[in-house]
Symmetry: C2
Subunit: 116 residues, 2 copies
DNA sequence: TTTATATGTAAGAATCCTCTTACAGGTGAA
DNA sequence: TTCACCTGTAAGAGGATTCTTACATATAAA
């Protein structure tokens, strides 16, 4: 187990990264082996800038990692691969993660009276 | 295990529902026991219409269920409680779920040439 | 009747997300 | 030089999310 226990904020970021059909498909594709962005964009059928953005989102969440390498013919290739994350989503597990959320805003008075 | 294996689309909806600090806190609170929306809004510190919206989102994803009941003094109370979902998020598990995604659009030609 | 509780829902603003188009740079081969 | 690859990023449109305010309903108690 590499990804021990993410904080609430980290968990939200991970879930947000995975809560997208295209990004889910990207992770699924990378699960079968590493690949570089242009090829990945072609395989999945998406424009390269769009792929680039989604890969950044997944990497920021810690679900994939990229490394810029030089191919034999000298071209710069950015290879991505999945990290070995393992998240368990149950109500009680989420309750634990929720304790470390940093979006309380206890000062800002929400919940106005709303009396009509 | 109640939630056997959601489809790709269902999984995305579940993840999207959980990928929000407030909704994560709602699930965490309901994990300690059922509650009705007005009280839940007060406890968490959010306006009731906002709580209502988030509860709908969570219920649509199948993470919570609500039941409208009549209290002793005749008031209508909508109680929500968590379902016993149990999701495992690994790269290979996501790869399985991704196969049942319904957002291919194989006709619509993405990935234009983009040659400058 | 008025007050307090509960429910639902609609309209609008502000913001975030998604995606395309267009530009910048680089190397190697014809 | 030109073409075919690779990389990155910025601008803008369109739509989805999030949240507030405001309205509507109902019951019980003072």
């Amino acid at each position: 187990m590499t990804e021990a226990r993410p904080t609430g904020d980290e968990l939200v970021e991970m879930l947000a990264a995975l809560a997208n059909p295209l990004r889910l498909r990207i992770v699924a594709t990378l699960a079968t082996g590493r690949d570089y962005v242009s090829h990945l964009a072609r395989v999945i059928g998406v424009s390269r800038p769009l792929m680039h953005m989604h890969l950044q989102r997944l990497e920021a969440a810690g679900l994939i990692v990229g490394s810029l390498e030089l191919s034999e013919d000298g071209k710069a290739m950015k290879y991505y691969e999945v990290t070995d994350f393992d998240l368990r989503l149950t109500a009680s597990a989420l309750a634990v993660a929720a304790r470390s959320l940093t979006s309380h805003d206890p000062d800002k008075g929400h919940a106005p009276k709303e009396s009509s």
